[in-house]
């Protein structure tokens, strides 16, 4: 049986260029970048080069990039780091109800420690407005954390507008761009963000590596304490092979490639929607209209079809999709994102929705097959 992977928001396969770069780096490069001898200097040179490539990709300065072990660490570092380092300026934080758990769980941890968190609601498309942020701001607000693109429904938040609102306020502005970075053009200047987190494995790069953009004006207490790596901002022996793999994935994402990718993924999404309509599947789109969402994410409510059943039967037919995010670690907990956009924790779409997420390796042909499979599974169950 052929297997088709439509779960690219959970993780992506490494691209061939990344595999080559990484295997080579794993085999050749074994210096500890902090060592002062030849191997160390060699590694350090590769580290600097990779950092440069990455900084350029978001219009940041080289020194503003800190390598992490992934999106979770980036989010934890940004949020806990700000909370600890700016605690004398206040203990109020603003976020949204639809953030990734790496943000939300860190927030609830801070709540236990006495911080005051405002969780902004979103509209039915999953969007917050700059006005909402403005209204929630207080003199003691030290952090605003709002994701660039949502992983379950693909909502793209108005980051630049929020950045403008925060321009004359003390609050540090963090955005989780884990889902958006591989797809949208990201410019930290234009977005007005101070902190931005990224994970390698969502962009056909390696797992266990990511980076945090930290504006040079921001000074955070490190999250990982130890050696003096990353200019004292993140301890731990530098994971050079993975950093090289990540830099390769970023090199492959030139603005032109990203544009082509957006167009391709958008058209795959359109094909799926058109086929499902043609096949008379009774469904609705959760979140933003498809052309307003992240091109790789489509979340659909198939009326009357339980997600667990759909997942299982699609899997049997060779199609990997998901219900919500992978990250609730193997469990099918009700999606907090769908709850937030429906405003009703008993809404039927919470248990009857599928997330299809597209990637480089998907073809039009495979999307037609997916539509066919969804149609069959739906009809088998409902008839």
């Amino acid at each position: 049986m052929t297997h088709y992977y439509f779960d690219n928001a959970a993780t992506t396969p490494m691209s061939p260029t990344v595999v080559t770069a990484m295997s080579q780096a794993l085999a050749d490069d074994f210096g500890n970048a902090s060592s002062t001898h030849y191997f160390g200097r060699q590694s350090h040179h590769l580290l600097d080069q990779s950092r440069q490539v990455i900084a350029n990709s978001i219009h940041a300065k080289t020194d503003e990039i800190i390598f992490t072990s992934g999106g979770t660490e980036g989010d934890n570092t940004a949020i806990s780091g700000t909370a600890v380092s700016y605690r004398e300026h206040g203990k109020h934080i603003i976020t949204t109800q639809i953030e990734h758990p790496a943000v939300l769980k860190t927030m609830s941890f801070l709540e236990k420690l006495g911080y005051d968190i405002t969780y902004l609601p979103v509209d039915e498309h999953g969007l917050v407005t700059a006005g909402q942020v403005k209204a929630a701001l207080r003199p003691d607000t030290i952090l605003v954390s709002i994701m660039t693109g949502n992983n379950e429904i693909g909502a793209i938040e108005p980051i630049a507008e929020i950045g403008a609102v925060l321009k004359n306020h003390q609050a540090i502005f963090h955005t989780d761009a884990v889902q958006a970075y591989g797809i949208l053009d990201i410019d930290v200047q234009q977005m007005g963000v101070d902190l931005l987190s990224i994970s390698g494995h969502k962009l056909h790069g390696p797992k266990g590596i990511g980076f945090l953009y930290m504006n040079e004006k921001v000074n955070l207490e490190p999250f990982m304490h130890g050696g003096e790596q990353e200019h004292l901002r993140r301890a731990g022996t530098e994971n050079i092979p993975s950093i090289i793999g990540l830099a390769q994935a970023v090199k492959d994402l030139t603005p032109a490639n990203k544009k082509a990718k957006r167009e391709k993924l958008q058209s795959l999404k359109a094909i799926l929607i058109a086929d499902l309509k043609t096949n008379k599947v009774d469904f609705a789109i959760n979140g933003p209209q498809p052309d307003q969402a992240l091109p790789h994410v489509l979340n659909i409510w198939i009326k009357g079809l339980p997600s667990t059943l759909a997942l299982m039967n699609l899997d049997l037919k060779g199609f990997a999709v998901s219900a919500g995010s992978a990250c609730t670690a193997g469990s099918l907990e009700p999606s907090h994102v769908l709850t937030a956009i429906t405003g009703d924790q008993d809404a039927p779409q919470i248990s009857e929705s599928l997330r299809v997420s597209f990637g480089d390796q998907n073809t039009e042909e495979s999307v037609h097959l997916l539509a066919q499979a969804i149609t069959e599974v739906t009809q088998d169950y409902l008839n």
Binding site: H3, Y5, D7, A10, T11, T12, P13, M14, V19, S23, L26, A27, F30, G31, N32, S34, S35, T36, H37, Y38, F39, G40, S69, G70, G71, T72, E73, D75, N76, V84, P101, A102, K105, T106, F109, H201, P206, K207, G208, I209, M224, H225, G226, G227, E228, Q229, A235, G236, T237, N239, I240, L311, D315, F319, A326, C327, T328, A329, G330, S331
Partner: protein, 384 residues
């Protein structure tokens, strides 16, 4: 090329690299995903965990994957502090711990915890009695490393464990990063140890991955919050290729461990015999049972460590000034400082760190080229 800097990092084993590549190509699914690809990934993740648990001698649910030694140390120290803050805010660490432990403790100090830094003697050893004396009713954690990364002293973990049997609720953490493949398991992980930290790149595994042993039933707060991976203890998409590669590396590392340690010790013995015969050289890592077989720290009086490192590098021999993570800033060794070695001598220290792949021929080569370098230093210091 002679690589004598294996305590900084080791070269990945070709078989380990093979595992990494295979898993990256064939098992790239997210273990949390509910479809087949996720299932395969999950199965592989659990079999890597089981294999590591078997090698360590614990249960699979006592192994948690991390991004390396630094994360493990940070997690156990801060996680214990968080989990037990209602019971007390005092922790005890040795004064020769790795920076990952020392700086985590220092961070807690800033946030209102009290830290006792237990001293070491002039050989670099913690006296278990000092740990006993430092214990207080509000002590929640004792953290002492197994093998010191700068001089190779093997700390008296078993004896400290004996003392801690009288304090059954206090967490006992051992940074075991430098001890893998050295045939030291029983000394590093006696029964009383609750937590131990490991890092793959120190035993020919990939960088950016490691694990902790966490005894069942011991409360530990989370460091990385998020998606709830690792049974809700450590969030972040699992780095499966690296984890599978690490479990392979660990298996290879413990295979014939005694023989490998013996080989390293024999090489170290020759180096120590050779160096200690030269005037003006101080050896900090003698060949005795309480020093690890792979680490040899020594100093040439009056010659800065970097100078020695660079002179040997010109001969294609790579070693380091004490530990890699502080070597860029040129600080003196923190271990030697804690041993009260005079600053001048401490800044002269260099570290040879061996590995089972090092050969007799390499040691012979070192012994052949070293005298010329040494004579030059002696002349510069007006000693020859």
């Amino acid at each position: 090329m002679i690589y004598f800097d294996n305590s900084a990092t080791t070269k990945i084993d070709p078989q380990v690299l093979q595992t990494y590549n295979t898993v990256a190509n064939d098992f790239w699914g997210n273990p949390s995903s509910l479809h087949g690809l996720g299932d395969h990934a999950l199965q592989l993740l659990q079999s890597a965990r089981q294999q590591i648990a078997d090698l360590v001698g614990c249960a699979a649910n006592e192994i948690y994957f991390t991004s390396g030694g630094t994360e493990g140390d940070n997690w156990v120290i801060k996680g214990t502090a968080m989990a037990k803050r209602e019971f007390g805010k005092h922790i005890i660490v040795s004064s020769v711990e790795h920076a990952a432990v020392l700086n985590s403790a220092a961070q807690l100090e800033k946030l209102g915890w009290e830290v006792t830094y237990v001293p070491v003697d002039n050989q670099g050893f913690v006296n278990p009695d000092d740990v006993a004396k430092a214990m207080r009713p509000d002590t929640v954690l004792v953290s002492v490393m197994a093998v010191n990364n700068e001089i190779g002293a093997i700390q008296p973990i078993t004896e400290i464990g004996e003392i801690l049997k009288n304090y059954p609720t206090v967490h006992f953490h051992v940074d075991a990063v430098q001890s893998v493949g050295k045939n030291l398991w029983s000394q590093v992980l006696p029964e009383r140890v609750d937590f131990a930290t490991f890092s793959a790149h120190k035993f020919h595994g990939p960088r950016g991955t490691g694990f902790i042993y966490a005894k069942k039933g011991r409360a530990l707060g989370t460091l990385m919050s998020g998606g709830g991976q690792e049974t809700n203890h450590r969030s972040g998409t699992e780095n499966l290729p690296a984890i599978a590669a690490m479990s392979k590396a660990l298996r290879l590392a413990v295979t014939d461990e005694a023989k490998k340690a013996q080989h390293e010790l024999a090489l170290k013995q020759q180096l120590v015999d050779f160096l200690s015969a030269l005037p003006d050289i101080t050896i900090f890592s003698p060949v005795t049972a309480n020093f690890a077989p792979h680490i040899l720290c020594f100093a040439i009086a009056g010659v800065r460590g970097e100078t020695t490192v660079h002179a040997l590098e010109a001969k294609d021999i790579y070693l380091s000034t004490t530990s890699a993570c502080s070597s860029r800033s040129g600080d003196e060794s923190s271990t030697l400082k804690a041993m009260k070695v005079p600053e001048k001598l401490a800044t002269s220290a260099v570290r040879i760190s061996l590995d089972d792949a090092n050969t007799q021929a390499e040691v012979d080569q070192f012994i052949k080229v070293f005298p010329t370098i040494y004579q030059r230093f002696e002349r510069m210091n007006g000693r020859a």
